[in-house]
């Protein structure tokens, strides 16, 4: 094990070499996974249109019920926390939606799951944006370049995720979700107000990532459309990868669970607030 007093030193791999590796991986992503997901979402949009026509999306299914009950305890805890939270940590990044628009009315079934997912992705984007802005303003002390890259890349991926879910909503004739999860947002804002360094920011991001991953895992059981399941299944591992890197950076074991839990999944009732 490395000596605790050892000073960090420059690595043998150069920035250019690593950037080239990252560029190759990004190209693979653009060539392979992104088109596949786009196709999947397009097919799901078509399926939603068909189901809307026949009024098949109305009513709560057993799967929807399962998602709602999966996170009841956590939801209650966060609601309690919200009750005592009146703070807003960031004056530079809006949470809750730039336009103040409410969630699309009367969403049910898969479309409500898509709206919840979009609101969580928006919250992740908000969190990373606020963190990057705080770092840029010098509020977090010295921020290593690798941390900046992590935050900007993770934020970009969350924007991709939000766009995918919003494509499903707009494809079904609904409006985009531009708000952040209304129950979780005040909790995250309250936590962000206490962030003073990179470690605090990483801990906050970990909270968001683990919640998102758990919600997608729970959502897999709640979605009725196979295409919707495929979309959630393609995103859950990415959120957990973000979480693993954050754990590693925080000096915690990066893969703590042999089976990923759903205890921190957000319920659909978040959108009823």
């Amino acid at each position: 094990m490395t000596n605790k007093n050892q000073q960090p030193r420059e690595l043998g791999i150069s920035e250019a070499e690593l950037a080239a590796m990252t560029s190759d991986l990004d190209q693979m992503h653009r060539d392979s996974s992104l088109p596949a997901l786009t196709e999947s979402v397009d097919e799901w949009v078509s399926a939603n249109k068909d189901e809307e026509t026949s009024s098949a999306l109305g009513g709560a299914s057993r799967r929807t019920f399962l998602l709602g009950t999966g996170a009841a305890a956590v939801g209650g805890l966060l609601l309690a926390a919200c009750g005592s939270s009146g703070s807003s940590s960031s004056s530079t990044t809006a949470a809750g939606g730039a336009t103040g628009a409410k969630y699309p009315a009367n969403l049910t079934g898969d479309l409500k799951v898509a709206a919840l997912a979009a609101s969580l992705e928006n919250l992740a984007v908000y969190t990373y944006t606020a963190g990057i802005q705080a770092a840029t303003a010098g509020k977090l002390g010295t921020v290593p370049p690798a941390i900046v890259t992590f935050a900007t890349t993770a934020r970009s991926q969350h924007m991709d995720h939000a766009a995918a879910w919003n494509a499903v909503l707009t494809g079904a004739g609904k409006t985009k979700v531009t708000e952040t999860d209304p129950v979780l947002t005040p909790v995250i804002q309250k936590m962000f107000a206490k962030v003073t360094d990179v470690t605090g920011l990483a801990e906050l991001a970990l909270e968001v990532e683990e919640g998102a991953g758990a919600t997608y895992q729970s959502g897999i059981g709640a979605l009725s459309s196979p295409k919707g399941v495929a979309a959630a299944a393609s995103i859950q591992p990415v959120e957990l990868q973000h979480a693993a890197i954050l754990l590693f950076v925080l000096g915690q074991y990066p893969v703590p669970n042999a089976f990923s839990p759903t205890s921190s999944a957000r319920p659909l009732t978040d959108l009823n607030t």
Partner: protein
């Protein structure tokens, strides 16, 4: 030299062991969550087996898997194994179309886990992975990951046995060929990490593909709880690989020396916004014949 960010301190070996113990506690919590889906899955499958196979369900499953297989045939591991033609033949058989698909999927998943356990076991016999020359973080990671794959295999096999199926105790045959081909070249950490990454990525992609193809809700839940874990293994291995390929394996510490890492290191572990499935293994590849 860039200073270490505030709050990030390196951890000694005793602290690492403490973290592993904490991780075990967390794992015990997650195991409680997985028990219920497994039990429900067993009950539902027993009910299903009393009925005739549903032709529509079978057809839908076959179409879904065919779509994944089309992508899988482009995967480099399958090409390396030279098994593409054999699998195309298998796909066209009636046996595939009418098989109890959830059991086959579980058997294939178990076979992938069996291979992973065996591969990490071999790796840990190497002095630079599990011996005195080994980096402690790499050794701990290999040991913990092997244990997690053992648990995955046990979970899949428990479900298979209770469904009345035959436990899969053998490794995935196509992937075994890949591992055997790689063995002579495992003379340093780089090739070992590359092989482990290939297996982890393949496992994660297989489970992502299976989650959207499975017809049984509880089989789906079990698989979904494992796919992200394999993806996490892959993320850490990608980060380790970047350091190993940079000839600076000593930088693999917990936490890593974040302040001195190149900027691009921050994203090397998670290259995809959407997890791909082009290396997913065919559903029947590891099924008991």
């Amino acid at each position: 030299m860039t200073p270490q960010p505030k709050g990030l301190a390196e951890i000694d070996e005793h602290q690492l062991l403490d973290l592993v113990e904490e991780s075990a506690d967390l794992h015990a919590d997650s195991m409680r969550g997985i028990a219920e889906p497994l039990e429900e899955m067993v009950e539902l499958e027993h009910e299903r087996r009393l009925e005739q196979p549903d032709p529509d369900e079978t057809s839908a499953f076959t179409r879904a898997r065919d779509a994944q297989l089309t992508k899988a045939f482009g995967g480099k591991m399958l090409v390396a194994a030279g098994a593409g033609a054999a699998l195309v033949g298998l796909l066209s058989t009636d046996a595939f179309a009418s098989a109890p698909t959830n059991v086959q999927i579980l058997q294939t998943a178990a076979s992938i886990e069996n291979l992973a356990v065996a591969t990490y076991g071999v790796a840990l016999t190497l002095p630079f992975i599990g011996g005195s020359e080994a980096n402690p973080v790499v050794k701990t990671f290999a040991t913990m990951t092997m244990s997690q794959h053992q648990q995955h295999g046990q979970a899949f096999n428990t479900a298979i046995a209770r469904l009345g199926g035959t436990k899969q105790t053998n490794p995935d045959p196509a992937l075994l060929a890949v591992v055997n081909q790689a063995k002579p070249g495992l003379t340093s950490a780089g090739p070992v990490v590359a092989l482990a990454l290939e297996l982890e990525q393949g496992a994660a992609e297989t489970y992502v593909a299976n989650v959207s193809a499975l017809t049984d809700n509880n089989a789906q839940a079990v698989t979904a709880s494992i796919m992200g874990v394999e993806a996490q293994h892959a993320a850490i291995l990608r980060a380790v690989q970047a350091l190993v390929e940079g000839n600076d394996a000593s930088a693999i510490t917990l936490p890593p020396p974040v302040a001195s890492l190149p900027a691009a290191a921050g994203s090397v572990g998670f290259p995809d916004s959407f997890f791909p499935t082009n290396q997913a293994r065919p559903a029947t590849e590891g099924a008991v014949k």
